[in-house]
Every structure is written in structure tokens, then in C-alpha cells.
């Protein structure tokens, strides 16, 4: 098996409930692994705990308990090393409208501490790779949705991260922009990178993910390849599998 780049064990996040003084468990005992060259799907309904889990992995949130290692770095003790190892993108991620596409990509490269010479050549090559050279000096506000998504992906991977964390990256996108994103994910996986991909769209998970974890009410209910899930449930379609898993009483 390839090198494991994301490993979580018993990852839990609770919030104080301001209404009744109790606790809200946004994620509970989440454990999984994701290796290089793999797309690992986190499949769940809205509010299932996907975003909370991804935010703990991106160090935006601190786990209440449990551990998580990203590219060999602990999210608690080495959050900056974790952030330097990841590229993060969600469907609601926007662009700085008044920056050009090139400036946008360069800005995130600078935030990742890339040296000026290396950054310039990397930005040139990534602009070429995504086919946005014609629009590279156009302000982001004037770009089409598809072009904006390309710029967004380009700025996510400008520092060539070994781990990509995508939180419902196609939500709110039109078909062409969504396809651009999914094609990119496949290509990135083929480069040997680790991709953690959260979605509530079954077809995306079926098409794209090497392994899938079904998350519901903060807990992972099932994990495996699509074939594993089919054989364990006796169902063929992921939608049916998902429905059965989330409606089963928790053991």
C-alpha cells in the first residue's frame, strides 16, 4: 500500500449547546486513513459532520479529542506544517474579485512561503497547465464561472501540496465547472497525490472515489471501496447503500 498521508483516530469535535447548556457533537470518533494516489470520499448529508472533520484536518478547528496526522504532522502540535502540506478548496470558496488571475495564484503561493523565483516559474507553468494564460491578467470578477473555478483550483495547488482537501467542491457550480473540478481531481490522484473529497452527491462519489466513508450524525457508519460496500450491504447502487447505512440503528 502507498504511504498513508492522512490518518485520523477517534477524531471528535464538540461544541457547547448555548440553548440547553449541554454539548453538540459535530463529529464523533472519526477514524480513517487516506494514502498517496488515492481519492477518499467522505459521503454524507448536509450537517453530517463532513465539514467539521475537514476543518479539523485543515487545522481551522482544534479537535476536542482524538488525533489526526497529515503528511506526518500532527494537527495539534504542528498546525502550520499541516497547512503547508495541504491544498483546501470548497464549493463556496470565492476569489478576490479585484485581483487578476495571476495575482490571485501568486498571492496564495506567497502565503505558502514560496520564493519569488520559484513562484514565478510555478505560476507560469500552472497558468499554462490550466489553460488560463489568455485570461491571466484579467480581474477575477470578469471571468466566467468555469474560468473562475480553474483559477480557484490553480491557487489551491500552486504550492504543489501532497494532500488535497476538497469540501463539496462542486456545490453551486454549473456542469462544465463541476466537470473541470472532477477531471482535475482524477489527474491529481494520478500524480500520486492524496485527495480527501467530501460530497453529498452519490454519482460523484461513485465515479471518483477509490474508497468511501459514509458519515452520518457525526460518526462514520461504513468505510470501504464501492465493491466492499456493495458486498457488505448486498445492494448495487450507492444511493441504496447510503440509505440503508444511515437508517440502520447504531450498534
Amino acid at each position: 500500500m502507498s504511504e498513508v498521508l492522512i490518518r485520523t483516530e477517534g477524531l471528535t469535535k464538540t461544541y457547547p449547546d448555548h440553548n440547553d447548556g449541554g454539548e453538540i457533537r459535530a463529529a464523533h470518533d472519526v477514524s480513517f486513513e487516506c494514502a498517496a494516489g488515492e481519492v477518499f470520499g467522505l459521503l454524507g448529508l448536509n450537517g453530517a459532520g463532513k465539514t467539521t472533520t475537514l476543518r479539523m484536518l485543515s487545522t481551522a478547528l482544534t479537535p476536542s479529542s482524538g488525533t489526526a496526522m497529515v503528511n506526518g504532522h500532527d494537527v495539534r502540535s504542528a498546525p502550520r506544517d499541516v497547512r503547508a502540506s495541504i491544498g483546501f478548496l470548497s464549493g463556496t470558496t470565492g476569489l478576490y474579485h479585484r485581483l487578476t488571475a495571476r495575482e490571485m495564484i501568486s498571492y496564495f503561493g506567497e502565503l505558502h512561503g514560496m520564493e519569488a523565483d520559484h513562484l514565478k516559474s510555478r505560476v507560469d507553468s500552472i497558468i499554462d497547465l490550466f489553460g488560463i494564460d489568455k485570461y491571466s491578467n484579467t480581474r477575477c470578477e470578469k471571468l466566467s464561472t468555469g474560468m473562475k473555478q480553474k483559477v480557484n483550483i490553480a491557487r489551491t495547488v500552486v504550492h504543489d501540496p501532497p494532500v488535497l482537501i476538497l469540501d463539496e467542491p462542486t456545490s453551486g457550480l454549473d456542469v462544465l465547472a463541476a466537470t473541470t473540478t472532477l477531471d482535475f481531481v482524477k489527474g491529481y490522484r494520478d500524480q500520486g497525490k492524496c485527495v480527501l473529497f467530501s460530497t453529498h452527491i452519490m454519482s460523484e462519489a461513485e465515479r471518483l472515489c477509490d474508497r468511501i466513508a459514509i458519515i452520518h450524525e457525526g460518526s462514520i457508519r461504513a468505510t470501504g471501496t464501492l465493491e466492499d460496500l456493495r458486498s457488505s450491504t448486498g445492494l448495487h447502487y450507492l444511493e441504496d447503500i447510503f440509505r440503508q447505512v444511515v437508517t440502520e440503528p447504531v450498534a
Binding site: 448555548h18 476543518r55 503547508a84 463556496t92 470558496t93 478576490y96 479585484r98 491557487r155 482537501i165
Partner: protein, 427 residues
């Protein structure tokens, strides 16, 4: 990550914020164009109004009613004015034993206005009281410029006539002018043209400068904090390796710089404008609007310190806002307090005191006023600097500690109250 690389992160954020701001029409308008052109536009507008009103006044005929019993010499100075017409008081108001009261004059004036057009601006009636003394009564309307102006002309003329009678009588009994008037009153103004200019500057300029400082912080805080959330770029920035404190520093510097740019442009614009106006008015050496370089430097120090505090407070207030509208609503009370509470100092006569120096905003306006007016009082100035420095450090540290709380950006139910409780460790 090394310290220098961390600092470079703040610099990267600052450069990006400035670049974006310079491309934002609203921000450029509010922070650069308004301060730069505020005074020229206001001055130009006022000058045009002045020209129009002067032209209107010159072309307008003022009618003055003068009692036929009044000595003719009183009307003479009025008749020398090309735009004044002197007419006798109408018979219905010409009482032999008393002057018509204000109500009668008003009624007659209104009736005249309806039937004969331009009403009289002022009326002088003349009668002798029961003790045998002549009484001159001037009826006028202080709510009308034309009437007020005519009243002054008429009053000067009546007083001059009385003085001439007194002198004439004194000469008749062998007294000269000195025996009658006893003394001359000679007014000597010790204010130099420069001091007079400074005094005029200190009347309103501190108020405008404080508004500009608050405005600079207001717009840039909204843009850099709420804008980041509304555009959906916040989470991606927070998932980059830059330390949250460095991110905050970069944004904080941007807000302070915006505020100072608005402040300095305001100051420069006013200086240039006043120089232009002085030439236009041809006042020569009577008025000089110059402030000593040291005072300007001290004003900039004051501006830096209050900008730092305002920037920290305004950025903090913006954190829970999910949209520009929410951000504007949250910031408005802070903006109003920062902009207008200093008016108290401008309305109050007297020196800048230590007590005033202890109250933020009041101390800024008070110190700016003192620095514009002349030599600043050392102790209140030092107290002001100390208060502002402490306030700036405390607000920056507090804002920084709150911004480092994960709930500040990711709690969907975050509010300013809850954010403050986080600062108190009650999250």
C-alpha cells in the same frame, strides 16, 4: 517557519489589501477623493453661493420707511446707497404720540407686500414722549438678512446724528470734544496674523480630521474583514500556513494606513485650499494658515495612535458580521461615537486639560485643536499619548486574542456578545 518569513506573510497580506483597495472605486472615493477634494468643493460651493447672494443683494432694492418727523440728516447716508429707497412712513402708522408697535409694522408690511410688491425692510419712527424727549424707534425683522442689514445702517445713522448733536451742544457752551467724550476707546488686537489663522483652523479642523480618521477605519475594516467572509476567501486563507496573528497584522496595518492616508490628505487638501482662498480673497498678511512642523509631526503621532485603537476595535466589531449590511449596522455606532463625540471639545471654551486628556476621542480632538491653535500644553499632551498608546496596545492584543479563537470565524451563531465572552474565556 522563521520569524522573518512570518513577517513577510504580514507584508504579503498588506500589499494584497492595498492593491485591492486601490482598485475599489468606493474605497478610492471615500478614502482618497473625498479627503482630497472635500475642501476645494466646499469652498467652491460656498464661493458660488456668496457670489450669487452678493449679486442678488446688489441688484435688489431695499425700501426703508422713515418718519417725516425724523431729521433729514438721518436719511442722508441711506440715500447715498444706490440700492436703497427711502419712503415716508404710511399715515396709518404715523401716530403723533407713540411709535407703532412691532405687530402694526408687520401687518402694514405684509399688506404692502400683497398690494405694492417689495415690502419695506425696516422702519424708523420718530416721536416725542411725555417727558419731552425725542424717541427714535426702529422696527425690523431679524429673520431676514436684508432687514437686519438695513437696521444696522439706520442705527449707525441715528447714533451718529445723536453724537453730532451732543458735540454741537458742547461747543455752544464752550466745551470741546475731549470734555464731552471723556476718553477714546482704542482696541488693540495682539493676535498675529499667524495666530489668528491658527485659531480659525482650530475651530473646525479637528472635527473634520477625526471624521476622516474614523471613516478611513470604517471602510477599510468592512472591506478587509467582512469582505473576506462574504467573498468566501476566509477559509482558504486560514488554511494556508500564514499564522493567524500575521494575517491579522497585515490587515490591521492596512486599516491604519487607510485611515492615515485619509487624515493626511485631508490636512494637505485644507492647506492647499486655504492658500488658494487667501490669494482669492486678497487678505494679504492679515491671515496666515501655517502650522509649525513640530506640531504637524505631533498631530501625525496622535493620528497614528488613535487609528491603531480604532482599527482594532472596528475590525473586532466586524468579525461576527456575515454580510456588508450586518457589518455596516454593527460598525455604525462605533463610527458615530468616534466621529462626533469630539464636538464637545470644540463647543467648550478654554484650554485642553488633563481631565480631557484621559478620555479617548475627546483627547484626540482636544489635542488636535491645541496643536493647531499654537503651543500644546505639555502635560495633557503626554497624558493623551499615554492613554492612546495603552488603548491601542490593549485593543490590538484583545482583538488578536479573540481572532485566534476558532469560534470567531467558524461558529455559525457567532455574535459580538459571544465573541466578547470568548475573550473572557467563557466560550
Amino acid at each position: 517557519m522563521s520569524r522573518s518569513r512570518s513577517a513577510a506573510g504580514a507584508w504579503t497580506v498588506l500589499r494584497k489589501e492595498i492593491r485591492e483597495a486601490l482598485r475599489d472605486r468606493n474605497l478610492v472615493l471615500q478614502l482618497i477623493l473625498v479627503p482630497a477634494f472635500l475642501y476645494p468643493l466646499m469652498g467652491f460651493g460656498a464661493y458660488q453661493v456668496f457670489l450669487i447672494s452678493q449679486g442678488a443683494a446688489e441688484g435688489k432694492v431695499t425700501t426703508v420707511w422713515v418718519d417725516t418727523d425724523a431729521p433729514e440728516v438721518i436719511s442722508a447716508p441711506l440715500l447715498e446707497r444706490s440700492n436703497v429707497v427711502v419712503e415716508p412712513v404710511p399715515d396709518e402708522l404715523d401716530h403723533p404720540d407713540r411709535a407703532p408697535d412691532a405687530a402694526e409694522f408687520r401687518a402694514a408690511r405684509d399688506a404692502w407686500s400683497e398690494s405694492d410688491g417689495e415690502p419695506p425692510a425696516v422702519m424708523l419712527s420718530w416721536h416725542r414722549d411725555s417727558a419731552g424727549s425725542d424717541v427714535a424707534t426702529i422696527a425690523f425683522d431679524s429673520s431676514r438678512d436684508q432687514s437686519e442689514q438695513s437696521r444696522e445702517w439706520l442705527e449707525d445713522s441715528v447714533v451718529a446724528y445723536r453724537d453730532s448733536i451732543v458735540l454741537e451742544t458742547a461747543r455752544a457752551v464752550g466745551l470741546d470734544r475731549g470734555d464731552v467724550e471723556l476718553y477714546d476707546l482704542d482696541l488693540q488686537n495682539t493676535a498675529s496674523s499667524r495666530e489668528l489663522g491658527r485659531y480659525i483652523l482650530s475651530l473646525m479642523l479637528p472635527f473634520f480630521l477625526m471624521i476622516m480618521l474614523a471613516q478611513g477605519c470604517y471602510y477599510s475594516s468592512l472591506d478587509t474583514v467582512v469582505g473576506e467572509r462574504e467573498r468566501g476567501t476566509l477559509e482558504t486563507v486560514l488554511s494556508s500556513p500564514i499564522e493567524r496573528s500575521r494575517l491579522l497584522q497585515g490587515k490591521f496595518l492596512y486599516v491604519v494606513i487607510s485611515s492615515l492616508v485619509a487624515f493626511l490628505l485631508n490636512l494637505i487638501s485644507l492647506t492647499v485650499f486655504l492658500t488658494f482662498v487667501l490669494r482669492l480673497m486678497d487678505v494679504g498678511d492679515n491671515l496666515q494658515f501655517t502650522v509649525a512642523p513640530l506640531n504637524v509631526a505631533l498631530m501625525v503621532v496622535t493620528a497614528v495612535l488613535i487609528s491603531a485603537s480604532l482599527a482594532a476595535v472596528m475590525m473586532l466589531v466586524c468579525v461576527p458580521a456575515r454580510s456588508y449590511r450586518e457589518g455596516q449596522a454593527a460598525l455604525m455606532p462605533v463610527y458615530m461615537v468616534a466621529s462626533f463625540s469630539g464636538v464637545v471639545v470644540l463647543m467648550k471654551q478654554g484650554d485642553f486639560t488633563v481631565q480631557q486628556a484621559l478620555i479617548p476621542i475627546i483627547n484626540v480632538v482636544g489635542l488636535l485643536k491645541a496643536l493647531l491653535a499654537g503651543e500644546p500644553p505639555i502635560v495633557p499632551m503626554l497624558v493623551t499619548f499615554a492613554v492612546l498608546a495603552v488603548l491601542a496596545v490593549v485593543s490590538m492584543r484583545y482583538a488578536s486574542s479573540l481572532a485566534s479563537q476558532e469560534g470567531a470565524f467558524f461558529d455559525p451563531e457567532i455574535s459580538l456578545k459571544r465573541l466578547m465572552r470568548m475573550g473572557g474565556g467563557k466560550s
